[in-house]
Amino acid sequence: MTIIELIKQPWPWYVAGPIIGLMVPTLLIFGNKTFGISSSLRHVCAACFPAKIPFFQYDWKKEIWNLFFVFGIFLGGIITAMYFKNDAAVVVDSNLIAELSGYGITDFSGLVPGDIFSWASLATPRGFILMVIGGFLVGFGTRYAGGCTSGHAIMGLSNLQLPSLIATISFMAGGFIMANLILPFILSL
């Protein structure tokens, strides 16, 4: 097996997790930056439509590293699609396949289900709710919480911050409630 073939395989958690964890010291040592991604959304607001809102009145250019970082993530996606794409279907837990099949989700070929996240789906009630309302909640919730999975769960917990633990537990609680209690209704729309 060549190196490229090895890279193309899905990476196990014990390879990916530590590399993600190394982003914390890398950013600290190479630029005194604390790892965090959702702030980039705030910088976009501050740069493009601050609208005299105090929360967006700051010198976003001083935080521009964060926008370079997220643009890098986007480029990383393009590079992976071009050179490291795994052609095999995504392995999905059989219970989940059974559950989702009941809602007409049968395409398991990609990382994102084409049955829900597509332009055509945007015009359907469930596609609209999941993409539009879901996206809104990601932006609103992360800023209200003061961070996302990277800023709170990884950076904050690494620095043993109690507020980050509270936030991380809340993220997980919200996710469990949505996935198990609310999502079934949305998917059946």
């Binding site: 899905p10 990476w11 958690w13 014990y14 990916a16 997790g17 530590p18 993600i20 982003m23 914390v24 010291p25 950013l27 040592i29 190479f30 630029g31 005194n32 959304l41 705030r42 607001c45 439509f49 929360f55 967006f56 970082f69 890098g72 993530i73 986007f74 480029l75 990383g76 992976t80 995504v90 219970n95 990382l111 994102v112 945007l122 999941l130 539009v132 309302i133 996206g135 909640l137 990601v138 932006g139 609103f140 919730g141 992360t142 800023r143 209200y144 003061g146 990884i154 690494s158 911050q161 507020p163 936030a167 809340s170 609680a173 919200g174 996710g175 469990f176 949505m178 609310i182 949305i186």
Partner: protein, 167 residues
């Protein structure tokens, strides 16, 4: 190059309104220095995709306790991150620009609970937190542009309503 503008940095207070949004670096470096963050972002994006963290299915499995994968990724990331932070503090490691590394203390507010729950809803719905959204878009899930746009709108509406929300 101007060094140590810390005392004249009046933006600091505004930015620290938000616990996660702080730039500790006091040296001002030319713009091309930001290319290193672009490179780190590329590496991060590749890891997010190859570990399938950006997969809507992996997120559903996590919230249904059907797979250990996501817990393993986040858990081992925190373990490595925590060990790194411990070593940086213990040996007082400086940044490559010779600055003391500052790790901000976060203060508790109710937003971490209310906002955290709302983000958790959004995470389970979109199958993505902010980082993976950008990776999904690059990986070819073009419709994710709508989700990113709405996340920006959500951030903006939070800014608008900030003073009226319980904190």
């Amino acid at each position: 190059m101007t060094i140590n503008k810390k005392n004249t940095n009046t933006d600091f207070e505004v930015r620290s309104l938000d616990a996660i949004c702080k730039n500790q670096e006091a040296v001002e470096l030319p713009m091309w220095h930001n290319l290193k963050y672009l490179a780190f972002g590329v590496a991060f994006g590749i890891v997010l995709i190859k570990s399938e963290v950006i997969s809507w299915f992996r997120i559903q499995e996590m919230f249904r306790l059907q797979s250990f994968h996501m817990f393993g990724v986040i858990g081992s990331a925190v373990a490595v991150g925590a060990l790194s932070v411990f070593l940086i503090k213990k040996f007082k490691i400086k940044s490559i620009d010779g600055e003391e590394i500052i790790l901000p203390e976060k203060t508790f507010n109710k937003g971490q609970i209310y906002g955290g729950l709302l983000f958790g809803f959004g995470w389970a719905m979109t199958g993505a937190c902010p980082g993976p959204l950008f990776a999904q878009l690059g990986y070819g899930a073009i419709a994710t542009a709508v989700t990113i746009l709405m996340a920006i709108v959500g951030t903006w509406v939070y800014g608008l309503l900030r003073e009226k929300l319980p904190a």
